[in-house]
């Protein structure tokens, strides 16, 4: 009888055990085996699993004798701001770290209940040689949105697959989504602080692109209301302004990986006297009056001679 009760207790315990909450950071791909010379996509996914996550970091490494990185894409990432943008360094892999202000607990949608996992970044890899391949996450950290930076008890999982010459080359296709949308509208801001850049004015900016991701930014400071297409310089945020008098218009251009552009402008803080709106208006008015007078004079000349 005692044995029966004990077995019953164990059975009930197993049936009704509450699954422990644990966020997941995992590499997923549709492949388990692939041919030599083929390309395939690997996504780094964050599954909050009921937790509220606001920061993540790690390093993705892969067998470099079997694989080469063709492309990485952080478009549509759940990471809002990168502290360390994912960049591949030969022999070191791809290091990344970023934050999600306000936290992430899953992507809501109209066709399903609850939150779905979100993508952090995607990699396109090409196989070079036969063998057992792997893509792994190292030194990963996932932090809770609790105001203390508590580390979440995250499950980390990599990817294993076989590279073989026996796999037909048409088995896996990478979805090629064409990006025709420009990056999202964004608002650069200018600030200064004694703790950075010797208290000089600096510019901060961060644009988002939901398809291919942001590739780079361009900047120019000019007195003209329009940017000059030949004067863009590639910059990163934060950027110390060249015009510390802040009498220039500051144009910032975000370019996505498909080459689409979004240009935004920060107006002058201290316009020179001849660029002040009131002076600008008066000059415009005077220019119009002169034009009208000239037009009248030309018309009279024309009608007189006819």
């Amino acid at each position: 009888m005692k044995r029966f009760i004990f077995l019953l207790f164990i059975t009930y315990s197993l049936l009704y055990a509450v699954p422990a909450l644990a966020a997941k950071l995992e590499l997923v791909s549709s492949i388990s085996e692939i041919g030599v010379g083929q390309e395939f996509q690997v996504d780094l996914i964050l599954d909050a699993e009921g937790e509220d996550i606001n920061a993540a970091q790690g390093k993705i490494i892969f067998s470099e004798n079997l694989l080469e990185l063709k492309n990485s894409n952080d478009g549509n990432s759940v990471i809002t701001f990168w502290i360390q943008k994912p960049v591949y360094v030969e022999g070191k892999g791809i290091e990344f770290s970023g934050v999600i202000p306000g936290g992430f607990s899953g992507v809501l949608g109209p066709y399903y209940k609850g939150g779905k996992p979100g993508k952090i970044l995607s990699l396109v890899l090409k196989t070079k040689n036969e063998g057992n391949g792997s893509v792994e996450i190292k030194d990963a950290k996932v932090l809770l949105n609790d105001g203390k930076g508590t580390e979440a008890d995250a499950k980390i999982s990599g990817l294993q697959f076989q590279v073989s010459n026996l796999i037909p080359s048409t088995k896996y296709q990478i979805l090629d989504s064409k990006d025709t949308d420009p990056p999202e509208l964004f608002t650069p801001e200018v600030s200064r602080d004694p703790n950075v850049f010797e208290g000089k004015w600096f510019l901060v900016f961060a644009a988002q692109d939901k398809v291919s991701g942001i590739d780079r930014y361009g900047e120019q400071e000019t007195w003209s209301r329009e940017p000059d297409r030949n004067k863009w310089q590639t910059v990163e945020s934060p950027f110390v302004l060249k015009d510390q008098s802040r009498t220039s218009y500051i144009f910032v251009k975000a370019i996505d990986r498909a080459g689409n552009e979004r240009i935004v402008v920060v107006t002058q803080k201290f316009a020179p006297w001849y660029k002040k709106p009131i002076v600008d208006m008066i000059l415009t008015l005077v220019a119009f009056v002169v034009l009208i007078l000239m037009a009248r004079w030309l018309w009279r000349l024309y009608t007189k001679q006819h």
Binding site: N54, A55, Q57, G75, N76, V78, T80, F81, I83, V99, P101, G102, G103, F104, S105, V107, L108, G109, P110, Y111, K113, G115, G118, K119, K141, L143, L144, N145, G147, K148, G149, E184, L185, T187, E189, S191, D193, N195, V196, V204, Q208, D209, K210, V211, R225, E226, S237, P238, V265, T284, A287, F288, L291, M294, A295, L298, W299, L301, Y302, H306
Partner: protein
């Protein structure tokens, strides 16, 4: 003579060009395409089989609605997993165009109306009467509005791309105190209007004393939705709960007798309930049980953790300053948010928690 007339034409053309240059603002306008409306309802009660609060339906409970009442001629109406109507089995779909009166019967808030638009998200929910409600899109301020006297608000964001967005909403009460950030990620579909309903902004909370003499009362107060029921939670070794009703302006006040609390640090937070909807908890406000009473300073003047430049906000500027010190030696005290002598992921996580946009 013809030669001179040409001059005039050139001059006129130049004038028109000049006018366009001076009068047109710099900007790019994108065309909208027609679309359908999808609904995402944020509800903590969805799935209990009872259509309540902002839910259109729940399981088999369709709140008395049928395909006919939704503007179709027949078919079977069902309920999506997110407690919105599924009209895919309704027949002879005849889109209803909104007319002046609006309304259309209780619970649910007029979903299913097809409005021509581009990729748009409409946010709606409850804040505080006449309060400012701000929406952050991917952590940057995107729009704000003023809630009505009934505490309800609606904000529309247009010209978005298809993809996953992280939106945050916060309210600002009559004293300028911000609520905790309510953040959610939504999948947005191209050419479609997505309604995000059922948002219930957490109450604001303050205390009148930072230190209370044990046995004296501490006043816990703030603002929430008009006539809502407020649950105040005081965290100690054991948690104490109390309920109080907000008045028509959404203001609530609870005087807590501190006799039952031990000496030391404690905190209080609150949440709000109205018509079946429940908000998340507010920020926690700390106080100490001691031997004397010390009045709390005005909460507005408190410096937020992560507000490096001290402008009352935690945003991209502060993030950039902290990022400058990432992995650098000897960071200034105000960028090292956990005081461990270095700037690492933990400092960014703390900043992300206190984010205001």
């Amino acid at each position: 003579m013809i030669f001179k007339f040409r001059y005039f034409l050139v001059f006129f053309f130049f004038s028109v060009l000049l006018s366009i240059y001076f009068l047109l603002p710099i900007g790019i306008i994108f065309a909208d395409s027609g679309g359908v409306t999808l609904t995402v309802t944020i509800s903590q009660n969805c799935g209990n089989g009872v259509a309540e609060g902002s839910e259109q339906c729940d399981g088999s409970d369709l709140a008395g609605a049928t395909c006919v009442s939704r503007g179709f001629t027949g078919g079977t109406l069902s309920c999506n997993a997110n407690c919105t109507f599924n009209t895919s089995s309704c027949t002879s779909a005849a889109p209803v165009t909104p007319s002046g009166g609006g309304g259309g019967g209780g619970g649910g808030g007029g979903g299913g109306v097809i409005i021509p638009s581009g990729t748009t998200v409409v946010f709606s929910g409850r804040a505080y009467p006449k309060s400012t409600v701000t929406i952050l899109k991917d952590a940057q301020v995107a729009a704000s509005t003023i809630a009505g006297v009934d505490s309800n608000f609606a904000i529309t964001l247009s010209n978005l791309s298809a993809g996953n967005y992280i939106f945050s909403v916060y309210g600002e009460d009559k004293d300028g105190i911000r609520s905790s950030l309510f953040t959610f990620s939504v999948s947005v579909t191209a050419g479609v209007t997505t309604n995000v309903g059922g948002i219930f902004i957490a109450p604001t909370i303050s205390v009148d004393k930072s230190e209370v003499k044990r046995g004296d009362d501490i006043a816990i107060f703030g603002q929430s939705a008009s006539q809502s029921e407020i649950t105040v939670m005081i965290s100690s070794d054991e948690a104490y709960f109390a309920k109080v009703n907000a008045d028509k302006d959404g203001v609530y006040l609870y005087n807590f007798d501190t006799s039952s609390l031990d000496y030391g640090n404690h905190n209080a937070k609150s949440k709000s309930a109205l018509a079946g909807s429940i908000s998340s908890f507010s920020n926690a406000v700390a106080f100490k049980i001691g031997t004397k009473n010390i009045l709390d300073q005005k909460p507005v003047k408190k410096i937020l953790k992560g507000d490096v430049i001290g402008d009352g906000r935690v945003n991209l500027i502060d993030f950039s300053i902290v990022a400058y010190w990432y992995n650098r030696a000897n960071p200034p005290v105000k960028v090292d948010l956990n005081g461990d002598g270095k700037v690492d992921l933990i400092d960014f996580s703390i900043m992300a928690y206190y984010w205001t946009g």
